[in-house]
């Protein structure tokens, strides 16, 4: 299984969330973070003037999924998070060994349907 960690603009959360749910990926965990990207001391270009802000508020979305769904999920997130400007965010993918449902202790190593 894979963990997808997407760091996106705050106002994109609801679109991503909806898109994922519509395609059957309902499970996710999200929280507010502050971040800095490639440009140290990111410069946002607003209205023609440059505005300096070091750390910007972002939303992080963690989704754990089956390996086979990785491409689909990445595509959905990118499609709904992109504006094409600096600050769109980053996605990190890593490996997850086990997923366990607390309610009944079911493990996804045996039954991938619980994710």
């Amino acid at each position: 299984m894979k963990k997808v960690e997407a760091i996106v603009r705050n106002d994109k959360l609801s679109f991503i969330k909806k898109a994922l749910a519509d395609s059957g990926f309902s499970g996710l965990t999200t929280y507010e973070v502050k971040g800095r990207g490639k440009q140290s001391g990111i410069i946002q270009i607003l209205n023609g003037t440059k505005i300096f802000a070091d750390l910007l508020p972002k939303t992080k979305i963690d989704v754990v999924i089956k390996d086979s769904n990785l491409d689909k999920v990445l595509e959905l997130i990118i499609a709904n998070a992109r504006t094409g400007s600096i600050g769109d965010g980053k996605i990190f993918v890593s490996d997850v060994e086990q997923v366990i449902r607390v309610r009944d202790g079911a493990k996804a190593t045996e039954d991938e349907e619980i994710i």
């Binding site: 705050n10 607003l46 300096f52 802000a53 750390l55």
Partner: protein, 437 residues
């Protein structure tokens, strides 16, 4: 030697100047500022507060210099050039009448109606504070500074002159004790026109059928505190609107006004709570709806009817919110028209309905049963005249500002939030900023 009446007048002035405008001061600015701040998203909190503060800058000064004289120092029924305008050489407003006017006893000092000057500016600032709620989360600062100055100089004084300054509505017996129409309908209607011209926030109406979507505010406690500060100020408003100049009247009026005001607020809270599973924000909004509705007839309505008028106000607000969002597709962000516009109209009409002595209205201020029809028609004419006038002036004002690109921020600024993009700050800077190295 000072007469008894002088003593009385001086004390009343101490009270009405010392207490009423100060309570409203807090109300108009802190109350609206914090109520609205709680209702917007975190990224727009600072901006929302500063938009309310605008009343306390140029607009305040401008009303003093021009707006106030326009409202009170001309005898033309519509609007005329004032007989007095303050200068360094001649700074003090002449006394309006021997017995004083508009709640302030005639000043035995001969120094003129400075107190009235002050109190009335607070009412104006309140009307101003209402407006930016409608355009919240997408409005420019300097466009609103200009709009506020225009409103303070001419738009608000026009209506004020009609109703309180001896204009045509006061001549035909129109009743608006503490501003259901002068303050609230004016503010609410200006808000509605501004919201219409500026257009909805990005993402407010979704899909082809434009389903409205709720943007949840960032903090209910702030909204609740703001609403309570407004309630506090409302007593400044309503009690401070007393025109009593002798002991009997003051007794009759102040107690009566206090109780009807409280009753109508309680009714509004109760009505709104009933229809919202006790939702606290809706309930507080209901309380304010009741407060708006009672302004017009606070001195006249029986307390029990005030409670009933309040319940209706609470329900009316909810209904109007739905109508604006689902039918008209206007994004009045913080429900400014439903609260101040709709309930302002309702309050003016309710005064025409419940003001008859036969059904328990004030034994002195109430009107006779036979006047019922006439009174209701006058109230209706007045409220329509004010509503339509303001709608037209508002549409012109905001249309011009929009053309001049002074009304709405850019798409990027809106998405990043107005705090960081316009004011280079966040509302909770420690959590969100760290640019020191």
């Amino acid at each position: 030697m000072a007469t008894q009446e002088d003593y009385f007048g001086a004390t009343q002035q101490a009270f009405l100047v010392g207490w009423a405008p100060v309570a409203i001061f807090i109300m108009a600015t802190a109350g609206f500022g914090l109520l609205y701040a709680g209702m917007v998203r975190k990224k727009n909190v600072s901006h929302t507060i500063i938009m309310i503060n605008v009343g306390w800058t140029l607009a305040f000064f401008a009303y003093f210099i021009i707006g106030f004289p326009l409202a009170y120092y001309s005898t033309h029924p519509i609007l005329g050039w004032p007989e007095w305008i303050p200068t360094i050489a001649n700074p003090l407003p002449p006394i309006l009448s021997e017995s004083g006017a508009y709640g302030i006893a005639g000043s035995p000092s001969g120094l003129g109606d400075m107190a009235l000057w002050f109190k009335m500016s607070m009412f104006m600032i309140t009307a101003l504070a209402i407006v930016p709620g409608a355009t919240a989360e997408r409005d420019q600062l300097w466009g609103w500074v200009i709009a506020a100055a225009v409103i303070a100089i001419i738009i608000y004084p026009l209506i004020e002159h009609w109703v309180w300054g001896g204009g045509w509505l006061s001549t035909i017996g129109y009743i608006d004790y503490a501003g259901s129409s002068v303050v609230h309908l004016t503010g609410g209607m200006l808000g509605l026109t501004a919201a219409f011209i500026i257009g909805p926030r990005i993402g407010k109406f979704v899909g082809k059928d434009k389903t409205p979507r709720t943007f949840f505010g960032h903090s209910i406690p702030w909204a609740v505190l703001g609403a309570w500060l407004l309630v506090f100020g409302w007593f400044g408003f309503n009690i401070g609107s007393s025109t009593a100049t002798d002991p009997e009247t003051i007794n009759m009026e102040l107690a009566w006004v206090s109780i009807t005001t409280a009753m109508c607020m309680a009714g509004g809270l109760f009505g709104a709570a009933l229809t919202s599973r006790g939702h606290v924000l809706t309930s507080m909004i209901g309380l304010l709806s009741g407060a708006v509705a009672i302004c017009s007839g606070a001195h006249i309505m029986h307390p029990i009817w005030a409670f009933v008028v309040g319940i209706i106000s609470g329900v009316l607000t909810t209904f109007t919110v739905g109508f604006l969002e689902h039918k008209l597709k206007i994004d009045d962000a913080l429900a400014v028209f439903p609260v101040h516009g709709a309930c302002g109209i309702w309050g003016v009409l309710a005064t025409g309905i419940f003001g008859a002595k036969a059904i328990g209205a004030h034994p002195i201020y109430g009107f006779e049963l036979e006047e019922w029809g006439y009174r209701f028609v006058v109230q209706l004419v007045g409220v329509v005249a004010i509503g339509v006038t303001i709608a037209i002036l508002g549409l012109i004002l905001f249309y011009l500002l929009n053309k001049a690109k002074l009304l709405r921020v850019s798409k990027d600024e809106e998405l990043f939030g107005l705090d960081i993009s316009i004011h280079k700050t966040y509302a909770y800077p420690e959590e969100m900023m760290d640019k020191n190295e």
